[in-house]
């Protein structure tokens, strides 16, 4: 494994740890429903980047259905 590969692996691990931390904070402060919604958006956005053909439409629907209140994370 080259130095660059190791660096990438380190950075990926760190970004992963920070992403998990953010998820834990969201769930603890706002509840499982909001966390699930954010997680769904994240996974759909990733699928869209990976050229999943349906993901673009699913991602569009997901965003259209968001109210401003919910977008700001203030949904009950």
């Amino acid at each position: 494994m080259s130095d660059d590969d190791t660096l990438d692996a380190d950075l990926r691990a760190l970004v992963g740890a920070l992403g998990q931390l953010l998820g834990e904070v969201l769930e603890a402060l706002e509840g499982k429903a909001l966390f699930a919604h954010v997680e769904l958006a994240r996974l759909t956005a990733r699928a869209r980047r990976e050229e999943d053909e349906d993901a673009q439409a699913r991602f569009g629907r997901l965003l259209r259905d968001l109210s401003p209140t919910r977008t700001l994370g203030r949904a009950a």
């Binding site: 190791t6 660096l7 931390l21 904070v25 402060l29």
Partner: protein
């Protein structure tokens, strides 16, 4: 491990750093004189553009800064317990950020100016001298300890449209420009005052222990005359270097 740590661990300068670039320039046959001339022709001039809608509360900027500091500390630590502690600190800060109100109304030009001043005083001001020191250190490693950066080097300058960009913004005019310039001047002077105050606290050398040369004595005399600070009458006899501290 950061890029810098990795580079140090294998004895190589960090790619793109001053040591790496200067090493490459020297390897291409550029001597100290040629390098000095290059510096004289080089200007980095980042400009802050005006984006009123992107003004972020200072509270949140400080919060991001604390997260970044903890993150860097975590990356540099080799102690697992300490790393966990930094991660907890980041967790707390992320939670605080989530529960902090953003700008509740359309940010004003003044908000945008304060946003800029945060970067000016908290990011640029502390880092700019470090850039010149790092550059000079790197040059001395390559060209010898006698190398000095050219006098009056204008390598790094900053510009800003904030508070003065009247293109399409009816809220920007002569008054906001004057306000912005005044705030910029005041914040930089505040930074200098803080630094001088810190130096004053650190530099406790006494005349009984350290010989004060004529040049410093003359400078102190000039400051005393120009600034008229009452404090110095007390300290001049015993602690010359501290006699010109700001009040």
């Amino acid at each position: 491990m950061t890029c810098r740590q990795r580079a140090r661990s294998v004895g190589q300068p960090e790619p793109g750093s001053f040591p790496a670039v200067l090493g490459a320039l020297a390897a291409q046959g550029n001597d100290a004189h040629a390098f000095g001339q290059m510096l004289g022709r080089t200007l980095f001039n980042p400009v802050f553009t005006a984006h009123p809608t992107q003004a972020v509360r200072r509270t949140l900027l400080r919060n991001e800064q604390r997260i970044a500091t903890a993150l860097m500390a975590r990356m540099q630590s080799t102690d697992v317990l300490e790393q966990a502690e930094y991660l907890e600190r980041i967790r707390d800060e992320v939670g605080i950020a989530w529960q902090t109100d953003e700008q509740s109304v359309q940010p004003s030009v003044a908000d945008e100016v304060e946003h800029l001043l945060f970067y000016l005083s908290q990011v640029i001001y502390p880092i700019a001298p470090t850039v010149f020191c790092a550059l000079e250190d790197a040059a001395r490693n390559v060209y010898g300890a006698a190398f000095e950066l050219p006098q009056a080097l204008r390598l790094l300058r900053f510009g800003s449209w904030v508070g003065g960009d009247m293109d399409g913004n009816p809220n920007v005019g002569a008054a906001t420009i004057a306000h912005t310039l005044s705030r910029q001047r005041r914040i930089v002077i505040e930074c200098y005052r803080r630094d001088v105050r810190d130096l004053f606290e650190r530099m406790s050398h006494g005349a009984a222990r350290v010989q004060v040369n004529a040049e410093l004595g003359a400078r102190l005399h000039a400051y005393r005359a120009a600034l008229a600070i009452p404090l110095m009458t007390v300290r001049t006899l015993t602690n010359p270097p501290r006699s010109w501290a700001p009040t």
